[in-house]
């Protein structure tokens, strides 16, 4: 799948703080939409109130869970990107008039969904690179239309399932049962439970 914003996001120093600024979030989200759907191929519209609602809901979740960043910072970055994706699905600010004719499989199956994923994945990958000098590879199945079809159906039932889906793309252990519970994430549970060996 395409991640058109990564180069631009990489140019932002300290993205993990910048992304908590509403104006930056709005601007970079719109830019990602522009790059995902170049003019002529499709027409897209972003509802500002819905976009802001998704940001505010994400912010609330971020503040409520940020204490867990101390347990596993890398996992918390993935979780935060996942909750941002879940809120984008929940508020659904983007509408695309027609399916992209010459996009990748994700854009063809689900243009709005692929724009949300490419944005949040781009943010997560850039922050991971800036913070840990990590460059994660996107798995091959991210280009499989069946995966996108299944993802679409699942997220329409429960937007929080976007969190483990993004974990999979980032190579992080997912929690499919209670996706929005940060304390129940495998990485957090592993590091916060007392070691049995000692």
């Amino acid at each position: 799948m395409r991640l058109p914003m990564v180069a631009e996001l990489n140019g932002e120093s300290d993205l993990r703080h910048r992304i908590r600024d509403l104006r930056f979030f709005e601007e970079s989200f719109r830019k990602n939409v522009q790059l995902t759907f170049p003019e002529g191929a499709t027409r897209s519209k972003t509802d500002q109130a819905r976009l802001r609602s998704s940001f505010l809901a994400w912010l609330e979740s971020f503040q409520a869970n940020r204490h867990l960043a101390g347990i596993d910072r890398k996992d918390f970055i993935c979780f935060s990107a996942g909750t941002m994706l879940a809120e984008l699905f929940r508020h659904d600010p983007l509408s695309v008039s027609s399916e992209a004719k010459s996009g990748d499989s994700a854009t063809t199956v689900w243009p709005e969904g692929s724009a949300y994923v490419s944005y949040c994945l781009g943010v997560a990958l850039t922050v991971l690179e800036q913070e840990f000098n990590l460059s994660a590879e996107i798995p091959e199945y991210a280009n499989d239309p069946r995966i996108w079809q299944s993802f679409k159906e699942n997220v329409q039932d429960n937007p929080d399932l976007a969190i483990p889906f993004l974990d999979m793309l980032l190579g992080q252990s997912p929690n499919w049962n209670e996706p929005a519970m940060a304390e129940k994430r495998p990485a957090v549970k592993e590091k916060s439970s007392p070691s049995l060996g000692n």
Partner: protein, 267 residues
């Protein structure tokens, strides 16, 4: 026996004397609003085409009233748009600094005036933005609230451990006290939860917090903060309703400002 001559009551304190012009201004606002809302029984259209010699004295008076009102409101609108815009902008420039969020060595009479005038100007903008442009906004209750806040914060500010930090609690308390003051009357017909005045004052506090976190203090940045705060508060309606109906609105509103203001502040 001749009745005793009535004496005009002497205002008991200097604060009451200072507030007197605001009382007069508010009274005039109330009269102007009542005049706007009067709807004489005979409409202009009802008079058209009639011979003036057939009109009753009441119809003539009504026609005269309508014409006079049209001319005065037209003149008033022009005056407000052209002349008062600059005055309102000057008032707005003081909005961010005229609150209680940042500690101050000594609060002058100028601070009191700036607090009242800037909040009045800001409330007019927020009321318009939140679809309540016909709402009557009064200055004297803002002034009374200022004095109450001054008394309430006098012992707190000296005991505060972090002298230079922004005090979210004081901004939240100010917003809630202003809402209770009656500066914007809550119409009985407004059964929404939260009601519009609550949204307006929550937005006022949020805008003040944004400006206090920012280093840019211009009329433009104040207008931008007010507009953004109004937009965001509308999106947070359920939280605002829960805050005003909740157990400790002051603490909860303070937490809301702490959550929302930093991401809304221009870097």
């Amino acid at each position: 026996m001749m009745p005793k001559r009535q004496r005009f009551p002497i205002p008991p304190t200097a604060d009451d004397i200072a507030a007197a012009p605001l009382v007069v201004k508010d009274a005039l606002r109330g009269i102007r609003r009542k005049l706007r809302n009067i709807s004489p029984e005979i409409t202009e259209s009802g008079l058209s085409g009639q011979n003036s010699s057939l009109l009753s004295p009441l119809a003539i008076a009504t026609a005269l009233f309508n014409e006079t009102r049209k001319i005065t409101s037209f003149g008033e609108d022009i005056a407000r748009d052209i002349l008062f815009r600059h005055r309102d902008e000057a008032r707005l420039a003081a909005f961010g600094a005229a609150g209680f969020g940042r500690p101050r060595q000594k609060l002058s009479e100028g601070h009191r005036h700036n607090f009242v005038a800037s909040r009045y100007a800001a409330l007019k903008i927020l009321a318009r933005q939140l679809g309540a442009d016909d709402q009557l906004i009064l200055e004297q209750p803002i002034d009374t609230t200022y004095l109450r806040l001054l008394a309430r914060f006098s012992d707190v500010s000296s005991a505060s451990p972090s002298q230079n930090e922004l005090n979210f609690d004081k901004i939240a308390i100010s917003a809630i006290e202003l809402e209770k003051s009656g500066a914007i009357q809550h119409p009985k017909s407004d059964h929404q939860t939260p009601h519009r005045a609550q949204l307006i004052f929550a937005a006022l506090g949020l805008a003040e917090t944004i400006l206090n976190l920012s280093t840019i203090h211009t009329v433009e940045s104040t207008l931008a903060a007010l507009n953004l705060a109004a937009d965001v508060i509308v999106l947070r309606k359920p939280s605002i309703a829960a805050i005003f109906d909740g157990f400790d609105p002051e603490a909860q509103l303070s937490a809301e400002f702490r959550l929302l203001a930093p991401p809304l502040t221009e870097a």
